[in-house]
């Protein structure tokens, strides 16, 4: 099939950037979306046009590196699917496809479709951990954890940190990302000692980074490739409330 692409091109963080039109010719329906871009890039280079820069690594939906807004939706039209796992059979001959980077103040564009997501790392460094050192830990079975609690923690821990939730949100909020980590630890006994500080510090860092707040549109959940539920945002809000009440 042949497809017309409209792709965001931007030389660097200071450049204004604009949409450019390219043709993707003889695309097989078995290709993944990123393989289609590989083919287009190969073609661009042959025509002395610099290839489109985009982030990708594992190409199996787990590393969280890929980050394209396709036709207005982060990771494209298929629910629960990263863009690297989306295949061209979901498109048809003659389609127009618009490809843009994540757009959020806290995720500045570095080049074309590549953005800077280090804000997420700084939120993690503010409290996304249990403060224990290597060694000297008790036997793993010394502390039984109810299966339902462990399962809830795992549901939250499945987040791949891609930032689609931010890109989907009209407030560019990172609430779903932060809530997933807060909820993982709040569901487990290991997380109890720092429960209060964690939610407080991570949310403070989130605000500092310029992410917005939540106004309950649930766009984040719809865009999340790992189907992380917005119920964790509610859980985080309860954690935050609890932490505020317990302040000395």
């Amino acid at each position: 099939m042949n497809i017309t692409l409209f792709v965001w091109r931007q030389k660097n963080a200071d450049d204004r950037g604009k949409m450019e039109k390219y043709l993707a010719k003889d695309i097989s329906s078995h290709m993944s979306f990123l393989e289609m871009l590989d083919v287009v890039n190969e073609d661009l280079v042959q025509n002395d046009v610099e290839p489109i820069a985009f982030d990708h690594d594992c190409r199996e939906g787990i590393c969280g590196m890929c980050s394209l807004v396709v036709n207005g939706t982060p990771h494209g039209p298929e629910r629960g699917t990263t863009i690297c796992q989306l295949h061209m059979r979901h498109f048809k001959d003659g389609d127009n496809i618009y490809i843009e980077p994540w757009r959020a103040r806290a995720f500045p564009v570095l080049r074309d479709l590549v953005v800077d997501r280090t804000a997420f790392d700084r939120i993690m460094a503010a409290g996304g951990f249990v403060s224990i050192n290597t060694g000297g830990t008790p036997d793993a079975n010394a502390l039984p954890i109810p299966k339902t609690d462990a399962d809830t923690a795992m549901d939250a821990a499945a987040c791949i940190g891609c930032g689609a939730c931010v890109a989907a949100c009209k407030n560019a909020s990172a609430m779903l990302f932060v809530a997933a980590k807060v909820s993982q630890f709040a569901s487990l006994p290991q997380g109890q000692a720092e429960r209060k500080e964690r939610v407080t510090n991570m949310l403070a860092q989130m605000q500092l980074e310029g992410f917005g707040n939540c106004s309950n549109y649930y766009e984040c959940e719809a865009a999340c490739p790992k189907d992380i539920s917005v119920k964790f945002i509610a859980k985080m809000n309860r954690e935050y409330l609890r932490a505020s009440c317990l302040k000395e």
Partner: protein
Amino acid sequence: MILDPKIPSGPLAEKWNKHKFDMKLVNPANKRKYKAIVVGSGLAGGAAAASLAELGYQVSCFCYQDSPRRAHSIAAQGGINASKNYQNDGDSVYRLFYDTIKGGDFRSREANTYRLAEVSANIIDQCVAQGVPFARDYGGLLDNRSFGGAQVSRTFYARGQTGQQLLLGAYSALSRQIGLGNVIMHTRMEMLDLVVVDGRARGIVVRNMVTGEVSSHAADAVILATGGYGNVFYLSTNATGCNVTATYRAHKKGAFFANPCYTQIHPTCIPVAGDYQSKLTLMSESLRNDGRIWVPKKQGDERPADQIPEDERDYYLERKYPSFGNLAPRDISSRSAKEACDDGRGVGETKVGVYLDFKDAIKRLGKDTIAERYGNLFDMYNRITGEDPYTVPMRIYPASHYTMGGLWVDYNLESTVPGLFVLGEANFSDHGANRLGASALMQGLADGYFVIPYTLGNFYARSGVSDVTTEHPEFKKVEADVAERTNKFLSIGGKRTPDSFHKELGKVMWENCGMGRNEAGLKKAIELIPKIREEFWSNLKVLGKGEELNQSLESAGRVADFLEFAEMMCHDALDRDESCGAHFREEHQSDEGEAVRNDKDYLYVAAWEYAGVGKKPNLHKEPLVFENVELATRSYK
């Protein structure tokens, strides 16, 4: 040069304890005087960086991704082994050690493998304390599953995302140290060379992948945890960015490369669909419990699967290995699939694939049971291929998955360059010629959490603070070399992209140094590779500049190193004139197609010393001494 593995004396079970006592310590107040550079932020690198910072050393950590959380350890699905014996089924440190040695076809070092089994239990304790949500049973205790190559249930798992959860555990520990200011994290930074002064590793030269700036970083020790080289085949289950550059550059600076020909091919991956393919996706091996593998009996049979009658199908694994059937080990299963396809009986559009059929299992157990067992895998397959495995048999084919070879290290994980340590998949140490399932995660974390924190302290205490700063002329020289190389890529002005060369190399390697190897094929590859390399350096096309985010430029550097590394890999495969584990020399097989080892002549680690581009590297042998286990023939009949 004599390769000294520095294995501690004494009985196997007491070596590590004894060594921990014999090693020198760094006084807590003095630790902050020592700097460590950690390259790579996966299980081994992330765990090492966090643990060393907790001890009080100054740590700088580098990764090429935009966040340390994205390292490819994250993609491991199955689980992590540990000799906890929680299931009361007879597991022990010795049994895990023995299974690993046997699985590696008696080509690994006893002492290292024993230590790995010994610290495996600590890893699980550590990860649980970090809040890693392992699977649990209803009583709240940890659940285990069984895995290939073992008769006990010792594998801990977190759904199908064990690697992800373990990596996020290490990443959270690392994040804490970054927040405390004890680790300086450098993301989107690629190591392009190692700096050695007076025979000691002093630091690295890196390129900032956003600005293109080349900079030097000095330290008292350098730790490489940069993963494997499976992408030498171009197509593999590795992430597209995985590369050999860091370890190969260190090799060129004096670090010996051990057993590069030991590469593992995983039997159940989704087959290649076309020339545009950029990577291969693994499907869990557990599928072989209920799926039956077959190809048509007739060559070039174009009929769809459901129109091929039962008596015209060849269930070749069941035919050749009646007792193990579809559960034959990875290497045997992989080679049989290749044989069938080479014989013109492959299936699918490209004819490079075999069927994995669930029809009988669905008839026997019902669709619901199959969905419960494999639902997520079936969905993933459907997403990628657009075919429904409940009604149409899956197509699978083997793919490069893991590399057992790596930089040579001694018992302390130190390479032949003093002050250069190598961890995880990047070293060669623990898996011999073949790795068992669920052991890669174990090794990465063992090295990072529980080995390097001890052995690095010993090195510091004995060697002292390095007096070489980045002002040293050697740093300037290496920086200039790196800049010159970058300019070279940009100035060739040819016609072909780095990717096209990588694909060409991958094909040569897959055909001649892949699942099955023989003398003629390897010699052919050794002839072909220099020709590709020559064309690369005269006909490469990289657009753009060095001082900007330039993904083609990054790719060019990695492909250039693969083009040299591949030749060494072929030399190693040619030189090892025996079959062992994943290294299958077609000249050495039994009547049943099993690997035939030659313990008399090849009971050694092949450690290669760099001799120049296009020159055969110099071979150094580290004899393998087995004091505790008896060399046996692996049998899966």
